[in-house]
Amino acid sequence: MSDLLALSAVEARAALDSKAISATELTTAYLAAAEDTAALNNYVLLTPDHALEMAASADARLAKGEAGILEGIPLGVKDLFCTTGVRTTACSRILEGFTPPYESTVTANLWAAGAVMLGKVNCDEFAMGSGNETSAFGPAINPWQGPDKLDLVPGGSSGGSASAVAARAALMATGTDTGGSIRQPAAFCGVVGLKPTYGRCSRWGIVAFASSLDQAGPFTRTVADNALMLQAMASHDPKDSTSSSMPLQDVAAALGQGVKGMKIGVPREYVMDGMDQDVVKLWQQGQDWLRQAGAELVEVSLPHTKYALPTYYIIAPAEASSNLARYDGVRYGLRVEAGSLDQMYEATRAAGFGEEVQRRIMIGTYVLSAGYYDAYYLKAQRVRRLIKQDFDTVFEKVDALLTPATPTAAFAVGRKIDDPVVNFLNDVFTVPANLAGLPGMSVPAGLNADGLPLGLQILGKPYDEASLYRVASVLEQAAGFTATPSRMAGGAQ
């Protein structure tokens, strides 16, 4: 069974096509693996019946030679994606028991490509958090452990996605990235995570956090798997006005193209106090790998980088405060009865939203308030444009940027949750790409002194995911990252 779990998606697809394995076998193995790693709390809902049915259909299509590009590949779905007939809560009490009668465009695309849903994976409540610690279902745990064997966070908000893929409880998983929610957990769990260009994947049917920043993307164990999954997820969707009609490049072909002749920028602002020295070393190592592979490394400057975090923490909560107004107890989800309509709203939202969500709703409401709008929201929008201009300027000279994914490796559960500002710092390297709408990818590239995975981030031009895959592929090969976490299905527990 552990052999099945060791297959990459590309390998599994080949084995399925050659009938060496069946989708049902593969799905059964992953369902068992999910049970096996239940202590990591990375699934909030397993859907075995659903999964086996889908696997049986996949086998039927495989038999008829009608396989889609993800035919028979079992994956986890972040609980932010609405799935027809399957409970979807955004890991919030306020959506307790909510079962959507509709399917998000991204998951519909995945099922159309033949993928099999194992269940819904854990995340921060409404994707607000950097450690998956704000989930109403309790924290998801990172399958990696340091020498002290403490429980580590898998990162967030897509912590369940990263944890499940790393622990081999899912072959791939969907995530969403608003300020780093795919790339940071990917780095913390030693897997590959892509935040595509804003507009690349439809937002329709994904519970919204911050509409102008949210973007869905794939979690996989290899770069090639990632490209495969992106091809299935991406589409132009007329139901999402911000969805792009720019066709996806041939990302599979990009994998083998190498980086010879590419210009890779190294932004000098991507350093901060308290940064792990192993991260700095790995970043240097990454530059060397790319240089050796024939790329030209160029130091560049993104002068407004230091304003990205404060800008993000104005814009994201502002949009969230409005996006979350619909959770009012009137039509679905939790309702706490109270005297008047206003009292019902207050009681429902006080009981339904966790502390971090409430904090962001309050921040967002504040920055949009009369008298504060200009000083906060409007100014943040202006700075956002400057940050975008920084990238535009730099991308006139380089093809992609190489940065660390996170300032440190995964931290212990509970260590940072009490200080929201420290938590926010996790996103320092990832947030600018969301503000500028750029694609960004985290690739596992090494371990720190404690044996925990570290990721390198590649940022690219809008709609140029292909360049990210070219660079990521080279890094993956050079790094030869084969380490596995201690709490992996079928592995040493």
Partner: protein, 484 residues
């Protein structure tokens, strides 16, 4: 024209601005594919987007955008090729999203103008400040259950045009004329059905008073008036209330008020202090709304002739009075009817017959022009009989009444009933001789200088003829006989 209102301490000038909400005529809602039709069972026309289900996104309905542009063109307003949808945030049970998508800083239509015509035929140009698109809210029903409110989301998300005037009106009559004219333009364009009872057109009325020539006074806003009568009543009430308040040494509070249709009184809904902070910001689910000049030009080219254009034509080419021309062109159907009825006839006479006799009869019977038995050609036929002297205007009134009842042709009625005007001078002379012979005393008085008696003789002759004698000939022959 002075429209000042006299108070105890002197004259006051009234300042009125209107915000009209006009429901866009469209098959689907502004941001969802659900039907925008009126009269469906509760919550029948509700899409996942309207109900604000998690993860649902708005997609603009281009037809609603075109309707707004057509309206803007009809108001001779500037069309903004780029406009922005904002969110207006507030909580209410019939507002599922927790915000209304509206246009705050960058509306689709900018400044324009609307010409109103008063009863005396005078015209005034009222400035249009802007027109923007926004979503309607749902409906809360508080009288269906002892302790609960019912919510109907059919109207949720239906497209509205909010049309904001400049504070250019100076009386309730002008405000009513403005709404009537706006409604007329919307109906000509087909961009709003203008049905006030069904709520397709409602007005918020901003009223203030000031001493003539002084700065604007503090205004109040009275919400949601859905008839011309209520608009005028609410304004009159507010004007009287504000003048009294100020003259008693008080001051007007800037506030939102509600109009009680039963009592004709306005009362405070919320004060300025309780005003919502709507936290407007650009809706991140929508890109800025961009239209091309080419699109605008195409819409402009396909625009129908508008009431002002027809009105000018009726005045300049047909010689109608300003007021008649306005009345006839208020509705597109009426104008069409008039054009058809007056073709080849005395244009002014047809206008007269339409505005006085036809509208009077329709008013009395409560019918609309569409169901009227008198077709435009039939009315033209009747006027033709008057013009060529076949019947007198007096007889024509009887013929008209019969036409209105039976739907028969004027010529047939005249023929059947033998109502043809007598223009035979011999017959008229004989009648006159009879009348003179029977009233010799009056003839003497007349000849002795009592000129006024001439009317008496005309009346007698007409009576004798059963109204059929040609009045012109009666006048002429009678004068010759009496003066001779």
């Amino acid at each position: 024209m002075s429209q000042l209102v006299a108070g105890r301490t002197g004259d006051w000038e009234v300042v009125i601005g209107l915000e009209v909400h006009a429901q866009v005529s469209s098959k689907a809602k502004l941001f969802s594919g659900a039907s925008a039709s009126f009269g469906a069972a509760p919550n029948e026309n509700v899409s996942l987007v309207d109900a604000a289900m998690p993860g649902m996104l708005p997609v603009i309905n281009r037809e609603c955008v075109y309707q707004a542009i057509r309206t803007g063109l009809g108001l001779k307003a500037e069309i903004n090729l780029t406009s922005v949808f904002d969110r207006k945030n507030y909580f209410y049970a019939d507002l599922p999203q927790g915000y209304q998508i509206s246009q705050f800083k960058q509306p689709i239509v900018g400044a324009g103008v609307l010409r109103i015509v008063m009863a005396d035929g005078s015209t005034r140009d009222i400035g249009i400040e802007r027109l923007h698109l926004e979503q309607d809210a749902g409906k809360s029903m508080h009288d269906q259950h002892p302790s609960k409110s019912y919510i109907d989301l059919n109207r949720t998300g239906v497209a509205l045009m909010e049309i904001v005037s400049r504070p250019d009106m100076r009386s309730a009559a002008e405000a009513a004329a403005y709404v009537r004219k706006l409604r007329s333009i919307l109906r000509y364009l087909g961009t709003c059905d203008g049905n006030m009872e069904e709520g397709s057109l409602r007005a918020d009325v901003n009223v203030s008073v000031r001493r003539p020539g002084a700065e604007f006074g503090t205004r109040t806003e009275t919400k949601n008036l859905n008839s011309l009568r209520f608009i005028q009543q609410a304004i009159d009430y507010e004007v009287a209330r504000q003048i009294e308040l100020i003259e008693d040494g008080g001051s007007v509070d800037q506030e939102t008020r509600l109009f009680d249709t039963a009592t004709g009184v306005t009362r405070t809904m919320r004060s300025k202090e309780d005003a919502h902070d709507y936290r407007y910001f650009p809706d991140p689910d929508l890109l800025p709304l961009v239209v091309t000049q080419d699109e605008v030009d195409k819409l402009a080219a396909a625009l129908p002739e508008l009431p002002d254009d027809i009105r000018d034509r009726l005045i300049n080419e047909y010689g109608l009075s300003s007021y008649d021309a306005s009345v006839i062109t208020e509705e597109r159907e009426t104008a069409k009817y008039y054009e058809a009825a007056s073709a080849g006839q005395d244009r002014k006479l047809v206008a007269n017959w339409m505005t006085v006799e036809l509208f009077g009869a329709l008013n009395k019977s409560g019918e609309g022009l569409a169901s009227c038995k008198i077709s435009p050609e039939m009315l033209g036929g009747l006027v033709g009989l008057i013009s060529d002297g076949t019947i007198s205007g007096r007889i024509a009134k009887d013929v008209f009444a019969e036409m209105f009842e039976s739907g028969k042709d004027a010529a047939d009625i005249v023929e059947e009933k033998g109502l043809k005007q007598v223009s035979d001078s011999g017959a008229i002379e004989a009648l006159i001789d009879t009348v003179i012979a029977a009233n010799m005393d009056k003839v003497d008085e007349y000849r002795g200088g009592k000129d006024k008696l001439f009317g008496f003789f005309v009346g007698q002759v007409m009576k004798q003829s059963g109204g059929q004698a040609n009045p012109g000939m009666v006048n002429q022959i009678l004068k010759a006989k009496l003066d001779g």
